[in-house]
Amino acid sequence: MSEPQDDIDVLIVGAGPSGAVTAHTLAARGFKVVCLEQGDWVSPADFPGNRPEFELELLKTWATNQNLRGRLADYPLNVDEAEVMPVMFSAVGGSSILFGAQWMRLKPSDFRVKTLDGVADDWPIDYWDLEPFYNRIDSFIGVSGLGGDPAYPPQDFEMPPHPMGKGGMLAARALNKLGWHWWPGTQAIPTNNFKKMVKCQRWGVCETGCPAGAKASFDLAFWPHAIAAGAKLVTGARVRMVTTDSHGRADGAIYIDRQGREHRQKAKAVVMASNGIGTPRLLFLSASSQFPDGLANSSGLVGKNLMLHPNNESIGLYDEELESWKGPAGQLMYSLEFYETDLKRGFVRGSKMNLMPVPGPLRLLQNFSKRAFDERWGPAAHDIMEHGGRALSWAANIEDLPEEVNRVELDPDLRDSDGIPSPKVTYRMSENTRKSLVYALDRMAEMHQASGARHIAKNLLWREQPGHLLGTARMGNDPKTSVVDRFGRAHDVPNLFIVDGSVMVTSGAMNPTASITAMALRTAEHIAETARDTQVAA
């Protein structure tokens, strides 16, 4: 191992959205900050979406499934017992490289599901605790949207919304006819040039990386500002454990560089920003005689209560030209008609639905793969392909409730490229989740019917979506039933903080990055405000 590196104030593990926000916030306040990231910078020029064969590149090189991609920066996952494939991407900007930038806040009810519905637990914070942090993140990254959605408390946005286009207008008219809620999409995608980002060029390939640099992935939206503020970002640095001193306080981390050399980075405080799978993995890897069950795990809840937001999708093919290759994708619009609990449906909680364009014609053929051979090939293939540009996708995020059986553990055999144990993910959908999944799919098919779709494909479970990794180090007031407190501080280790999706008590049904980054900002400011001369308060 190399000589220990200079002592710093705060070490951040992971350069995704929450790590970026934490780094910027603390560096701007004078803290000496280092962030260790196992991946690298990715150039927009590397993304496949502006190449004609981009849909074929998604099969492997740019697959959402990291086990297929085979990049050294990613670590393999054992998903033999997981119904849903966790999606993540190791790079500066983290999984926001591949996110759709659908920028949705949780709703007030999401923080009180025990009180309202008698299930799971209430959060130790509420919507109004987070609201000012939502607003500030929105302003910083240039969120576009239309204020006044009656499904939310009042909110407004930095930039005007993107046009919904022909497809969005068609769906809006249909949902008005049905009397169902919808609203123009809110996106972390600028409608005008903003800071390091150009205005959206509507390539429609947001979820495979924006080739125009027009999406607020956090390599663009936050890291340049964090570095300008003085944060140091080390790429190709894979942390293998967080270390502790004799008093049980975190005092740094050991990481491995691309040449396989070990380094020790000392720090006065450590912030975990490694996502809802990477963070529990590292806490388990950091077990010691002081923390035999893993760091910060006296509750036994590290790795448990994994929530993944199962997704489903219904694609409709239409007779009229919808220009459905136009982005952002992203969401043209969303519907929260079935978000809140209605017990008449036979389950609690609900789903968020979003309408997306379908940017490539090959995907249409793939989405109709369940059809009989004669209905998919020969003349039938043309019937499907001819709907390129006339296809729309409704997809739903399903709220899954926390269950301890859904969990992340260390796999006894599987290792990453540095020989570090990889995670094993166990995830089974509950009966409640299954009912919500079926219900949402039927409603989305009805949306297509009301819009006049000629063909409708239904995919009950979109296994390799959406990459929302939540709940595995939940926040709470009681150290017996939670891992971190209401500010993300580990109950067991007073100078260890968690800022990623692990801390979420319930999942809601919203795309979570807006909430994760708002909580990261809140935690980072709490660290700064309670520190004295950059010594993090215990």
């Binding site: 492997k60 046009p163 207008m169 008005n176 123009p184 290759w325 809140e340």
Partner: protein, 140 residues
């Protein structure tokens, strides 16, 4: 792994069966330079040597509609990969995209009034008229 002419011919034969022509669309067999598009598709799919070998091994030496259908039933994973390569190559042909009306230029920045024009149709008014749609846990 580079594919041989023999390999490409097998994939092309499958494409010819799966994608005939219509009065509006060209057949796979009529696309000039289709073998080169197939090679490009195989490369973009980044298959391993073993995956390519298994896919090609599964393809019958002589393939017609019934043989393709039998392959889809007997070896669905191999058929899915081969048919994706075949159709993916077909969709790389500019003349196919032109016939589909699918653009090859993909930058469509919105005009400054595009959303305003949609909004001014009153499309959002009905949603607003239905009133508050969120639950206030404070009971307000």
């Amino acid at each position: 792994m580079s594919t041989t002419q023999h390999d490409l011919s097998k994939l092309a034969a499958l494409a010819h069966v799966l994608i005939p022509g219509t009065d509006k669309m060209p057949s796979a067999a009529s696309i000039a330079g289709f073998d080169a598009l197939l090679a490009r598709a195989v490369k973009a799919a980044a298959l391993t040597e073993a995956e390519i070998a298994a896919m090609l091994e599964a393809l019958p030496a002589k393939i017609d509609w019934n043989a393709a259908k039998a392959l889809a039933t007997a070896q669905p994973a191999q058929f899915e990969m081969a048919s994706t390569i075949a159709s993916g190559a077909y969709l790389l042909a500019p003349e196919v995209l032109n016939c589909l009306g699918f653009p090859t230029e993909r930058r469509f920045p919105a005009g400054p009034m595009d959303f305003a024009d949609e909004y001014e149709t009153g499309i959002v008014d009905e949603v607003i008229a239905r009133g508050q749609r969120w639950v206030d846990p404070r009971g307000r």
